[in-house]
Symmetry: C2
């Protein structure tokens, strides 16, 4: 195992941004520009159809670096952002588009396809974590968190369930499903879980059931009024405070 | 109408604490000790069996004054903290104690008795608000919030529903009931609502149903793992940020 292969480096507003690859998978690492010594790492996973440097990712990463002093890493998901798509990917994406265009419930298609993507993404995240922990500013025994909503939760549930190095997670905005509930039940670390109370895609009972399925003794549900895309901006700050509490770092 | 009649005055850690009475009802007002100009007011109501200066009240008040720059006022509820009890109060309290001692569900008794107390407390809070708004440091047209959990929510639901001067509320930890749901449905201001996911007294579905009944277009549910008395301390800070967002004051 080698450390990440860095391919770019820039600094903006006190945040060092480095793109990298691990085993050919592209990622990005945001870090305190004035970092000295080791700091915790938050792995993030982006939503469906977006990419590692989508504003939702870079915005959350910058808040985490500033508020928590930690490193934040995101990978491009399989089939996303120019990564190759298999014929299976093409069929599932086509079906998802047609289902949405027809105004039919898209949940079953998204759950199935994102579950498939997660089986490919989880080993990539675990390899990236191996590589990132070789960096002296992260290290092999520091705190690690996970932050992913929507497709990021489809990846996060099996990842956090399988990966003992991850000690805290922010998840949410996904459907209940028996396989996901089984993964959620194996999660025991503290979780903050976001859902939209008036989500037009994810039924309220489905979101509540997924939260209920989490095995964690310490978990918090944040359900806000509004539709699927109306997650309040203040939830990003709440996630920063959650990780700061878990890591014992100042906000 | 006269301003509150102040009966004591002390300063601790930058917070001015003044006890007062309005029409004979005892209250306490916490304010920024270095206050200049007008600041918003948060009315709080305490839980059953406690009083206006219970640590849960003074702790939340000090966080609000420090984090939000606002005034905070609490009244002793009818029948509490030395205020006279009627024979009806005595009978209901006795029934509540016997129900709890027998390990039977206490919800129906608490809902009924707290509903009765609310009919007495709501006019007292409205009169106190009239009086407090005569103070130059509060004023008649500044922002007003309400913060009450448990019995404080039994008082808060009819108070916020009836009182157009209250523009934001933090509520929670109470049972669903048809009369309360009707009051909740008339509330249209932003609400943050706390419940305990594993509450041994308030069934999960009951807490969720009361949140669902709120008529507010902008509302947030914070459901935390743990029992009735295990509301995490960080929810008090969340309430401060909620009021700061609503009032437009810095945290």
């Amino acid at each position: 195992m080698n450390p990440p292969h860095f391919t770019s480096r820039s600094v903006l507003d006190g945040v060092l941004e480095r793109e990298f690859t691990v085993d050919g998978v592209p990622g990005v690492l945001w870090s305190p520009a004035d970092g000295s010594g080791r700091a915790p790492l938050v792995l993030m996973a982006h939503g469906g159809g977006t990419h590692k440097k989508h504003p939702a990712m870079s915005g959350r990463a910058r808040r985490l670096v500033a508020g928590c002093g930690c490193h934040v890493a995101v990978l491009d998901a399989p089939g996303h952002s120019g990564r190759p798509r298999t014929p299976h990917d093409e069929r599932e994406i086509d079906l998802m588009m047609r289902t949405m265009a027809a105004g039919e419930p898209v949940g079953p298609v998204v759950v199935r396809y994102n579950g498939h993507l997660a089986t490919r993404a989880v080993p990539e995240y675990r390899a990236a974590l191996d590589a990132l922990q070789l960096l002296p500013e992260i290290g092999a025994d520091g705190p690690v968190g996970f932050f992913g909503l929507n497709m990021g939760t489809a990846i996060g549930l099996p990842l956090v369930a399988a990966e003992p190095r991850i000690g805290a997670a922010v998840l949410g905005q996904f459907w209940y499903d028996e396989a996901l509930a089984e993964q959620a039940g194996r999660i025991t670390v503290p979780v903050e879980f976001a859902m939209q109370w008036d989500d037009e895609h994810i039924p309220r009972e489905s979101g509540l059931a997924l939260f209920a399925a989490l095995g964690s003794a310490e978990k918090s549900l944040h359900a806000n009024s509004g539709g699927h895309k109306e997650l309040p901006r203040f939830e990003a700050d709440s996630a920063v405070r959650f990780f700061a509490r878990q890591f014992g770092t100042a906000v």
